[in-house]
Each structure stands twice: as C-alpha cells, then as structure tokens.
C-alpha cells in the first residue's frame, strides 16, 4: 500500500469516526468524572514507561499506546 493510498484510507476512516461518534459523548457540564486523574489516558506516565521498558526488553511486541521505538539496545 502506497503512502497515498494509506492517507486516503486514514481520511476515510477519520470521516467515518467523526460522523459515527457525533451522536455519543457528553455535554461540557457533564465532565466531572472524566476530569478525574484516573480517567486520563496518560495518568501514570512513569509507571507506564517502566512497564513498557520491561516488556520491550523481554517480548517481541511493543508499542500500541504510543510509538513502538524502544531507544534501547536490549532487544
């Protein structure tokens, strides 16, 4: 797949997501729970980094949450 095709696919996927998601969600005054620390996707960056490094050095898979590069010669 060329980069052009990949870009077109991403744009189509994005359009579908945006249109499909327009009917769900909350109003601005309903974000009390979402504002809690534990509801943030990057709530524990240091814990996540330490775990990711451990798994990167012991397993063949990495990434997903963010870029998969390890910056480590351990694997």
């Amino acid at each position: 797949m060329s980069f052009g095709q990949l870009g077109a696919l991403c744009m189509m996927a994005g359009a579908l997501v945006v249109s499909g998601c327009s009917s769900i969600g909350v109003k601005p005054w309903q974000r009390d729970v979402l504002a809690r620390e534990e509801m943030q996707l990057d709530a524990e960056p240091v814990d996540a980094a330490i775990d990711d490094h451990m798994y990167f050095s012991k397993e063949a898979s990495s990434g997903g949450r963010s870029f998969a590069g390890g910056g480590c010669g351990c694997n």
């Binding site: 945006v18 769900i24 601005p28 979402l34 809690r36 509801m39 898979s61 963010s66 480590c72 010669g73």
Partner: protein
C-alpha cells in the same frame, strides 16, 4: 544492551552521580511535602512544574537485576502550551542467556570481547544449566522531551525527541503529531510520525550473521533505522467511560540482530557440535491495534482495560490484555490498585531453539533468542498510593509504592532428541519489580 566483563570507572562514576541526583530529587519531594507549612507555597526550583519521579528495582530469578530511577517534569503554560522533559537511568547487571541450548555436557563460551574459546575471556556453563553470560553489565541514560502548542482552538501539535545512550548502543528519535477535537471535544483524532536512528557498537564487533561462532567473524559498527506512524481516535462514550483506539505501523531496516545471541548446533543424539551467530532479516514491518478504556463504576472504583493485537512480517503475532482496578478509600485519600496483564506471542518464522545438525552451516535466517519464540506471560501487580496535602501550585501530590510479578512460560513444541528430554530446555522467566514513586 551490552555485555562486558567489567564496569568502566567512568560509567561507575556516572551511575553514582545519577543515582545521587535521582535520590536527591526524590528526597526533595519528601521534604517539600513535609515542610509545606514552613516554606512559602510554590517556592523552589521546580515552581510551576509538575514532577513525577520513581525509583524501580527489577530482579529476575537467577538472571538480571536492574535499578532504574526516572524523573518526568512537565509544565503547562497559561496559553495552553506545555513542555515536558524526562530522564531515565538504568543500571543492569547479572546473567543473560546467550541463546545456546542446555546440554548434558559443560559448554565453554567466549565473552563478547573474547577472540578465542580458551583463555581468560571465556565462561563455562555446567551440564543441565541454561547457558548465560554471567558478566552481563549495562548502563543506559535516556533523556527525552516534548513541546506541545495549540495552533487553533481545537487543534494542537506536538514535537518531541529522545536520546538514549549505552556503552554499545546509541539511539536518537524524533516525533511529531497533530491532534484535533470534534463533537464538543468528545472526539479527538490524532496522527503522529516518528523517526528512529540507532547506532550499534557491539563489544568485540558485530558478528557476521549466521557465521560460525568459533571463527569470530566480526565487523565494525552497525546501524538500524525505523520510521513509524500512529493514527488514534479518542472518544468520550459516556459520562463515565473514555475510550481510545490506536492503529500504528512502523518499519525498521538495518542490522536487527542481537550481536550477543548464538544458536546451538546439535547432532541427532543431542550432543552440541557447535554454534552459529543468529541471523535475523534486515528489515521488519510491525503493525498494531491498541484499544484502551477508562471506566468509572462508582465514586470509589474505576478500571483501566486495554487490549492490543500485534503482528509483523517476521511471523510474530501477539495479543495483550491488561486490567487495572483502582479502589479509592477514605474520601479519596488513598487507593489500592491491583492489576493483571496477560500476553501471548507466536514465534518468528525463523525462530529455532537449535539447529539440528549437519555439517553444513545454515544459509537462511535463524535465531534461538527466546524473545522471538512462542510463549505466554502473566503479570500480577499491586499498587498503593497516598494523597498528600496540597502544596501551593503542586495540587495532587502523591506517594506510591507498587510491586509486580512477571512470569514467562515457553510454549516451544519443537521435537528434541531423546537424550535431551530430561533437561529443562526452556525454563520459565520469573521477575519481580518493586517501585516507589513521588509525584508533586
């Protein structure tokens, strides 16, 4: 990762200085919390900065142990811009499997710097034991940063980079991403790219992939490069449920071997007749899909649940599922957070625990690196965190401690000669992680 007989004095000094700095920073957090009533709010070196620091100790049963201090600094400006820096140091030592197969006979190997299977730069593995290099040692220093800027009311861009330095490895990574909010900020689309350039300087040189271990055919430094892209969508599902889906792809090219890994050559009776350096393909394309969910069930209980599917053109597929359950207590003064992670991977197409011999050297790719083999793993974790009194600008200070137990079990089904069947050829990997953290 490096293997070297002795730590260099320079590296030892650097490690001591970094450890001291890390401990001082952790202590600064403690002092800050205890003296909140004395010092003016918000005073000090890190005024307006959020600090997340941790000191982790990792220990494998009979193999590697490591200590890792981490400091993450971030600051959000009034105009929405944000800046982040992080520093990580690893000091590892212990015994690292070299890839060779357990045998009924003693096996002698050369240290990475060795050029002969005799003499002082060798080590011997006893019969029935997994061959490991007992002189493994590695120090790593990594620094990273990112700068995020809103370019419109609903759009922000971020650029970042990371440098990581080891005695035998250097990595430089840059990345950039853009994120845009839709639907009253209930939906966020993001797209990012990264570029990684690694330099490998293996001790003793980089072995010729697939070459006879006894011939020590090594060359100079090597490199590998990777580019990747990540497309993500974050969606508020309900008042209590936030979901994220990421699709990522990357491609690495260059010297992708572990220069210290070898593969045993055995005959039909199970006797080891020699070794080859591993030989991996010189390119790899990886793809993954990652789905993360944050769900609050009650005022005290919330969960983080994630799934990942990973595949690459080496034939590896993996699935990962992870659950964290956070349980707040006493009016959200402290919480406990048990967690469990399950992981399973299939083997790379060229993975083989040994080469069944024959006089001729193999001509294709091969590796006995257990990390490319089939296995499954569990992680069980428990975290405790205590919220500290607000301290000026540092609202949300927290002390935490956590422990994790990790266990890999191999699912290798390759038939072995009868004489080897009584040996534990693929022993489980068992590890424990202990960490304390301070956020202020």
């Amino acid at each position: 990762m490096q293997l070297k007989p002795k730590a260099l004095p320079k590296a030892q000094n650097a490690r001591r200085r970094l450890m001291a700095a890390s401990c001082a920073l952790l202590s600064a957090g403690a002092a800050r919390s205890q003296q909140a009533n004395i010092a003016p709010a918000g005073s000090g070196l890190l005024e307006d900065w959020s600090v997340d620091s941790a000191l982790a100790y990792y220990h494998e049963d009979g193999r590697i142990h490591a200590i890792e201090p981490v400091v993450d600094l971030s600051k959000v400006y009034a105009d929405g811009k944000s800046l982040n820096f992080n520093v990580t140091f690893d000091a590892l030592a212990g015994a690292s499997p070299n890839g060779a197969l357990t045998s009924h006979a003693p096996q002698t190997f050369a240290s990475p710097s060795g050029t002969s299977l005799t003499g002082s730069h060798t080590y011997t593995t006893e019969p029935g034991q997994l061959p490991v290099d007992p002189n493994y040692h590695d120090d790593r220093l990594a620094v990273g940063g990112s700068w995020t800027v809103p370019i419109a009311r609903l759009t922000q861009v971020s650029v970042g980079g990371k440098l990581s330095d080891e005695h035998d490895f250097f990595s430089a990574t840059v990345n950039a991403s853009i994120a845009h909010d839709f639907n009253e900020k209930n939906t966020t689309l993001s797209f990012g790219v990264n570029d990684e350039n690694d330099s490998l300087k293996p001790i003793g040189g980089a072995p010729l992939p697939g070459s006879d271990y006894a011939l020590f055919q090594k060359t100079g430094n090597k490199s590998k490069n990777g580019v990747g892209a990540l497309l993500g969508v974050t969606q508020v599902i309900t008042r209590n449920w936030l979901s994220e889906l990421n699709i990522s792809v990357d491609r690495f090219t260059g010297y992708l071997n572990d220069p210290y890994k070898i593969t045993s050559i055995i005959d039909s009776t199970g006797n080891t007749t020699g070794y080859e350096y591993e030989s991996r393909p010189d390119e790899r394309t990886r793809k993954s899909a990652y789905w993360d969910n944050r769900i609050t069930w009650t005022s005290q209980v919330s969960t983080a649940v994630s799934f990942r599917y990973f595949t690459d053109d080496w034939g590896i597929r993996s699935e990962t599922a992870q659950l964290h359950l956070r349980w707040w207590m006493s009016n959200r003064d402290h919480y406990v957070e048990p967690s469990i992670r399950w992981y399973r991977q299939t083997a790379a197409d060229f993975y083989t625990p040994f080469i069944l011999n024959t006089a001729a050297a193999s001509t294709g790719n091969q590796s006995a690196d257990s990390r490319l083999g089939p296995f499954h793993a569990f992680t069980f974790g428990l975290k405790y965190a205590e919220q500290l009194a607000d301290q000026g600008n540092h609202v949300g200070s927290e002390f935490s401690a956590r422990v994790e137990y990790y266990r890999q079990t191999y699912d290798v089904t390759v038939p072995v000669p009868a004489s080897l069947q009584g040996l534990d050829l693929y022993p489980d990997l068992k590890a424990i992680l202990v960490q304390i953290g301070w956020r202020f």
